[in-house]
């Protein structure tokens, strides 16, 4: 799968390729053009210029066949249908030519016990799982997740990550936008950071923005120092203290540090 495009409305110029089977995270502050970018890829918005190809087709002219190959998990839907989880999943599965078994999907998102409950009566987190279930019931080759874990407690977030990894292991390509850097770090094979409508960095989470080669900070009880050779610094300190160094930590910049420095208006 290839996507390319540039020169789009609120999006000033974005060029990216996402490979089949990978988990690709798009990070960026609110208003940076994340959602616009994703909505163009999903076929919801028209671009003003540039070239886009999603699963080999132009998402600006979506066909039913193309839509049956993608899955979309939107953010903040407020609909409150009087249908049960199972009825909703069964109904949506009928839209697709090769859908997953609704009960299997319900089990996959951990809602088996609530399958007979009306969606109106579910908690926010459970509704989010319904959203995800509806996104994957059509057996999509490509799944879009727009800030999927906003409002989740830490445990649900971990379970959700496992679910996404499972889908990815089955060969689903996943494009994810998120505010949570640890989410991108845990899930994504590659990330792109968008700020002011442009990609300011793109790469693997561990090496993004020169993270792997950045200076390390060695801190101990009496001071701290930034260095390219932290091992040497620690050895020196060890000699000074004659053994244990009190309060020793060695850190490299976190993804969050890198991210914050990237989105800073220059």
């Amino acid at each position: 799968m290839r996507k390319q495009y540039g020169g789009v409305d609120a999006v000033a110029g974005i060029d990216l390729d996402i490979a089949q089977g990978e988990i690709f995270a798009i990070l960026g502050p609110n208003g940076a053009g994340k959602s616009t970018t994703v909505e163009i890829l999903e076929g919801y918005r028209k671009r003003d210029a540039g070239e886009v190809s999603v699963l080999g087709s132009d998402p600006g002219k979506p066909t039913r066949r193309w839509k049956s190959r993608i899955g979309i998990v939107l953010q903040n839907t407020e609909e409150s249908p009087e249908l049960t989880v199972r009825e909703m999943l069964r109904h949506f599965s009928a839209y697709y030519p090769d859908s997953r078994d609704p009960d299997e999907v319900i089990a996959m998102v951990g809602l088996t016990e609530s399958a007979g409950k009306r969606i109106r009566h579910l908690s926010g987190g459970q509704r989010r799982r319904v959203d995800v279930a509806l996104g994957v019931v059509g057996r999509p080759e490509l799944l879009f997740l727009d800030e999927p874990t906003t409002g989740f407690d830490p445990e649900s977030r971990r379970q959700f990550w496992e679910l996404i990894e499972g889908l990815s292991d089955d060969g689903t390509t996943i494009v994810l936008t998120t505010h949570y850097l640890e989410e991108a770090e845990a899930l994504a094979d590659r990330v792109a950071v968008i700020a002011q409508g442009r990609i300011v960095a793109e790469g693997e989470p561990s090496t993004l923005g020169g993270r792997a080669t950045a200076k390390a900070r060695v801190t101990w009880s009496e001071g701290s120092v930034e260095t390219d050779t932290p091992t040497e610094t620690v050895l020196e300190l060890s000699r000074t203290f004659d053994g244990e160094i009190p309060g020793l930590t060695v850190t490299r910049p976190s993804l969050e540090d890198i991210y914050l420095s990237l989105i800073e208006p220059s």
Binding site: K67, E82, E87, Y95, D98
Partner: protein
Amino acid sequence: MAETATALPTAAPASAPMPSTFRLGLARAAVETKMFFREKDAVVFTFSFPIVLLVLFGSIFAGGLEGTGITFSQLYTAGLIGAGVMGAGFQNLGIGIATERQDGTLKRLAGTPMPAGAYFIGKIVNVLVIALLEVAILLTIGVLMYDLNLPSDLSRWVTLAWVFLLGVSAAALLGIAASSLPRSAKSAAAVISMPFVVLQFISGVFIPFTLMPQWLINIASFFPLKWMCQGFRSVFLGDAGAVFETTKSYELDRVALVLGAWLIGGAVLCLTTFRWKGRRDG
């Protein structure tokens, strides 16, 4: 499953046929109807509104029209059946779809391979079911409480059937088209109800045409409600009531013509103006 999956990983999904629009339309109709009847408060008020009006007007205006044996209650039954059918289509869908546009229902559906046609079929069938029930309830009350005579000959039943079907479909399509007018779900009830209430007053639902100035009748004649009510009066009041029509005739040919024109016009409006997204979604 496992063997075929490894041998032909992508062949199966690519070749499976897409579900037909008609079948999905019926599936939509089933869930729409289920959702409607599960929203208990909406069900109670939808169906009780015309009943309350009928009983109210039937009690206030207990008399009859001179020399015809037709009572005001019979007149109101016919008129309220027209208003009920129009309401089930126009008001119900106008407000309902505006709400679905804002709460994300439409956006979610637009991201699936469900065709727009299936959505419209689902809405129209849903409205047909509601309107049919409403007519049945009003007729029962009319017959039991207000000496309404059910038509005795087949031709009147046929008239009832075609006026109902044309009227409800035109009203549903107009409702779908009008749902794009409100800026938000909050304003929808006001934006849609105001013109509908005015239309009821000028279309002969509550006030006979004999009491209305000609220019108001002329305005009402552009809209489908006047013609629906006229068609229903021809069914329930019989030939004796024709003298109270503005032209001393029920003009069934014009009823068919105007309702048919609105049906086509409504369909064109739907196809050209329907939006899956709200105005604020860009």
